[in-house]
Structure formats: structure tokens, C-alpha cells
């Protein structure tokens, strides 16, 4: 039996009267790349935040490597979070630190690596994502959107995590830069052998990086299947989303 790397069961989260997640069930196997698609405000980011422990779900279970992570003590939670790397939607780079320190932050502060070693690893990761060492000392504010995403990706993989989460990795990028980021994600994930869970509404990105795609609608995963079958899902909601049609069963409120 193959143990799921990540397993969400009956995950439920409400904010006041609004139910954002209404019983999510999802398994991600080791080494697999799963992409969750869904419209804006459908709860994709909430799902990732619950997985990372940034939000507490109201009900349900989250298992990482078979271990229940809901209700863990901060110390145990920290041990679990060491398995994760994450590329945030806006890259979320630390403004006060130069590029290389952003990338090496988890190594220097989280794993107590010394600054010289941290810098060496950061430069290595920068090369891996196609960034020149010239920008290592620049503050993030001086980088373009595409470069910021690459720095974010370098930071996400710097600690060689077992699981990498991608939150809208191509949002706000032009199609060429989006493709470059998608290629880098595929390459880096393959090199690390990591398990990935991504959320996006960019179908080109989803097709490129996913082994399996799941669609989130009204707080539930309404369809899950291989990335190759997304165009013939047989699900009218998925069809409408994939083809970007205004008319269909998905009501835009």
C-alpha cells in the first residue's frame, strides 16, 4: 500500500456564515504533482493555509506522511513544517533583506547554517532558477515580477523540502515568463524528487505542472483526474472553467 504524502479528509472551514471549505477529501502520493484549480475566492488559498497550520480548520483531518497534524504542539508542528517549502502568490520576499539572504533565510535562521555556507547554497539555487549572481545583493524591491517569482522559487527549494506548495505561481506574469516559471517548477521538482501541491486558475500552468488535477467549487472538490483528461472530464463545471466560458453552471456572484 502506497502511503499518501498528504491526506486531507472532510476538511471544513467557515468564516462567520460563509463556508469556504465544505468537506475536502484529497490524497497526494509521494512524488506526485497535484494541482487544485478553481475560481477566485473558491477557498484554494484557505486549503493551503490549513495544510501549513496558518489557519485551523473547523473539522476534518490533515495527515502528512500518515501523521495527523491538526492540534499538534508548536514544536511538533515546526518539525512537520520543515518538510514544506512554499512559493507564495506575491513571492512575499522580505523587503529588508538582499536577494541571497531571502533565499538562504530558512537555512540560516531555521537550520542555523552559517552565513558563508548559506550564501553559497543561495547562489547555487539562484543558478538553478536561472538568476545571475549579480543580483544577489539587490533588495527585492529592485527586481521585476518574474525575477521575484524566481527568487521565491529559489527560496522554496533552498532547504530541499519533501513537499513544495505553489500558490498561483504564474499569476501576474506575461505568458513567456509564466512558461519559464512553469518549466523551472517542473525541473526543480524533478531534481528534488519532491511532492507538490499547487493551486492556480491558470490552465496552461496546471496542464504543464500537474500529474493530477482537482477542481474546487463551492467548498468541495467536484472533480479529480489525470491532467491529460482535463479536456474530456465529462463534468460541466470543469468544462466551463477550462474553456473560460461565461455561460454554464458556475454562477459568478
Amino acid at each position: 500500500m502506497i502511503l499518501s504524502k498528504i491526506e486531507l479528509s472532510g476538511l471544513r472551514k467557515t468564516f462567520g456564515a460563509k463556508t469556504v471549505l465544505n468537506g475536502i477529501d484529497l490524497q497526494v502520493k509521494s512524488g506526485e504533482s497535484v494541482v487544485v484549480i478553481g475560481g477566485s475566492g473558491s477557498g484554494k488559498s484557505v486549503m493551503l493555509k490549513c495544510l501549513l497550520g496558518l489557519l485551523s480548520p473547523d473539522n476534518g483531518s490533515i495527515k502528512v506522511d500518515g501523521e495527523e497534524v491538526i492540534g499538534l504542539s508548536p514544536r511538533k508542528r515546526d518539525r512537520i513544517n520543515r518538510k514544506f517549502g512554499m512559493l507564495f502568490q506575491s513571492a512575499a520576499l522580505f523587503d529588508s533583506l538582499p536577494v541571497w539572504e531571502n533565499i538562504a533565510f530558512g537555512l540560516i535562521q531555521g537550520q542555523r547554517m552559517n552565513y558563508d555556507q548559506g550564501r553559497a547554497v543561495a547562489l547555487e539555487r539562484m543558478a538553478q532558477v536561472g538568476l545571475s549572481a549579480d543580483i544577489a545583493e539587490l533588495p527585492p524591491a529592485e527586481l521585476s515580477g518574474g525575477m521575484r517569482k524566481r527568487v521565491g522559487l529559489a527560496r522554496a527549494i533552498a532547504t530541499a523540502p519533501e513537499i513544495i506548495l505553489f500558490d498561483e505561481p504564474t499569476t501576474g506574469l506575461d505568458p513567456i515568463m509564466a512558461d519559464i516559471i512553469n518549466n523551472l517548477i517542473v525541473k526543480c521538482v524533478k531534481e528534488l524528487g519532491a511532492t507538490t501541491l499547487s493551486i492556480t486558475h491558470d490552465m496552461t500552468s496546471a496542464r504543464k505542472i500537474a500529474d493530477r488535477i482537482a477542481m474546487l467549487y463551492n467548498g468541495k472538490l467536484i472533480w479529480t483526474g489525470p491532467a491529460t483528461s482535463i479536456n474530456c472530464s465529462g463534468n460541466p463545471y470543469v468544462d466551463q472553467f477550462v474553456h473560460g466560458c461565461a455561460d454554464g453552471p458556475i454562477a459568478i456572484r
Partner: protein, 258 residues
């Protein structure tokens, strides 16, 4: 009438709720002050930011306060021929009250606002969430250095503020009010007691703690983009100022009770 009372009750409960959250936040932050890992580089950075870079604004405030105090007390005391008390009034007022309170309010505007804005921006741009994925505790990295630096550097600022404030009074005293320099200095020392200075320094440490804690609290819990960051900054300065004035009375009462 019932609506009005309900409104007051609601506001009071809301105030208690916020005070409760602030207290829990402060205790949570303090618990991280005594548990490793520690970040001495960040502490030194914050100490320089709070202590060194606040010197101009605190110094100018103290200088003009001392000068105005000398002028005002001279005008008032001249009515009952007690002009010679000017130097004593200046030094005691500055060391006990004006030095720590004015420095506290100025630093609340400069540092409390800056902490709330910086942490608030980090919160709304998900930078604080990033810490979780990088195995770093945001409380230890962001809050502890700021709170410790605020508490340690305010007494330093108040000592400087006291010296400059007294100097301001002295300059006005000898140049504007025609006091003899030696007499003015003698009067300054004559009635100054160690307790006056100690009281000022105790207040300074408490005010520094309040400024840093409220700045961190409002910034750390900021929500809702630019508007939320703006609101956090305003709340940080307003609540720090109110808490400084309230705690000033409580500390003075404790020191001089009976």
C-alpha cells in the same frame, strides 16, 4: 435610553476584549524573550534604530520644553517673588515628568508607528506567513528584538533628554532671565534627589515596553491591505499614547503613595 446604555456597554466590553488580547499577546511575546533561539544582531539593529535615530527628535523636544519651562515658571513665580525656584522646578519637572513623558510620546509617534507599519505591511503581504514555511518563529525574529530594544533604549533616551532639557532651561535662565550661571547650576543640583532620576528611568523603561508592544501588536494583527496598515499605525500611536499617560499616573502614584 436603553440603546445608549447598550452602546456604552458594548464599547466597554470591546475595550476589555482588546485589552485581554493585548495582554495575551504581551505574555506570549515575553515568553519568547527567555527561550532560545535569540537574535542578537537583530536586537542591536533595533537598539540603534530606536535609540540612536530617535535622538534628534527627542533632543529637540527636550531642549524646547526645558526652555519654555524656564520662561513660564519664571513668569509665574515672579508674581510671588520666587524666581530663584526656576532652576529647581525645571530640573524636577524634566527628570520626573516631562523628560520621560514627552520622549515617550515622541518615540510612540516615531517608533510605534514605524513598527506597526512595517509589521502590518509584512502581515498583509504574507511575509509573516513565510516564516512558518522557513522553520522560523516570527515572534522570536520580529517581536522579541523590538520589545527588548524598546524597553532597553528608552531609559537611555530619557537620560539624554533630561540632560538636554535641563540645559535648555539653563540657557534661557542665564541668557534671557539674567540668572548667574553658578547660582543656576547650584540650584539645579541642590534639590534634585536620586529618586527623581530613578522615577524617570523606571517610567522610561515602562513607556518603551508599551510603545514597542502596542506597535508590534497592532502591526502583527493588521488586516485588509493598505487601509488596514494605516489603521494599525493609527491605533498603535493612539493606544501607546493613552497607555503612556495612564501608566505615568499609576507609576507616580506608586512611587509617591503616602
Amino acid at each position: 435610553m436603553l440603546d445608549f446604555l447598550s452602546l456604552i456597554g458594548h464599547a466597554f466590553l470591546n475595550l476589555l476584549r482588546r485589552l485581554g488580547f493585548l495582554t495575551i499577546f504581551i505574555l506570549w511575546s515575553l515568553s519568547h524573550c527567555v527561550r532560545p533561539p535569540f537574535y542578537p544582531r537583530l536586537l542591536i539593529h533595533q537598539m540603534i534604530n530606536i535609540g540612536y535615530y530617535s535622538l534628534p527628535v527627542v533632543g529637540l523636544t527636550a531642549l524646547f520644553s526645558g526652555m519654555v519651562l524656564a520662561l513660564q515658571s519664571h513668569t509665574g513665580f515672579a508674581r510671588f517673588s520666587a524666581e530663584e525656584a526656576v532652576a529647581t522646578v525645571v530640573v524636577i519637572s524634566i527628570t520626573r515628568e516631562l523628560g520621560p513623558v514627552l520622549a515617550g510620546l515622541m518615540v510612540a509617534g516615531r517608533i510605534g508607528a514605524s513598527m506597526a507599519a512595517e509589521l502590518g505591511t509584512m502581515r498583509v503581504t504574507e511575509q509573516i506567513d513565510v516564516f512558518v514555511t522557513l522553520s522560523t518563529n516570527p515572534a522570536k525574529y520580529l517581536l522579541v528584538p523590538r520589545i527588548l530594544a524598546g524597553t532597553l533604549m528608552m531609559p537611555f533616551l530619557v537620560v539624554i533628554s533630561d540632560i538636554i532639557g535641563v540645559l535648555g532651561g539653563y540657557l534661557v535662565g542665564i541668557h534671557e532671565l539674567d540668572f548667574n550661571s553658578a547660582t543656576y547650576i547650584n540650584r539645579t543640583w541642590e534639590f534634585l534627589e536620586p529618586l527623581d532620576v530613578v522615577l524617570g528611568l523606571v517610567k522610561a523603561a515602562v513607556f518603551g515596553f508599551i510603545i514597542a508592544s502596542t506597535g508590534c501588536y497592532h502591526g502583527y494583527h493588521s488586516r485588509g491591505g493598505a487601509q488596514g496598515v494605516g489603521a494599525a499605525t493609527t491605533h498603535a500611536v493612539v493606544s501607546a499614547s493613552i497607555l503612556i499617560l495612564t501608566s505615568n499616573y499609576i507609576i507616580t502614584k506608586l512611587f509617591f503613595a503616602g
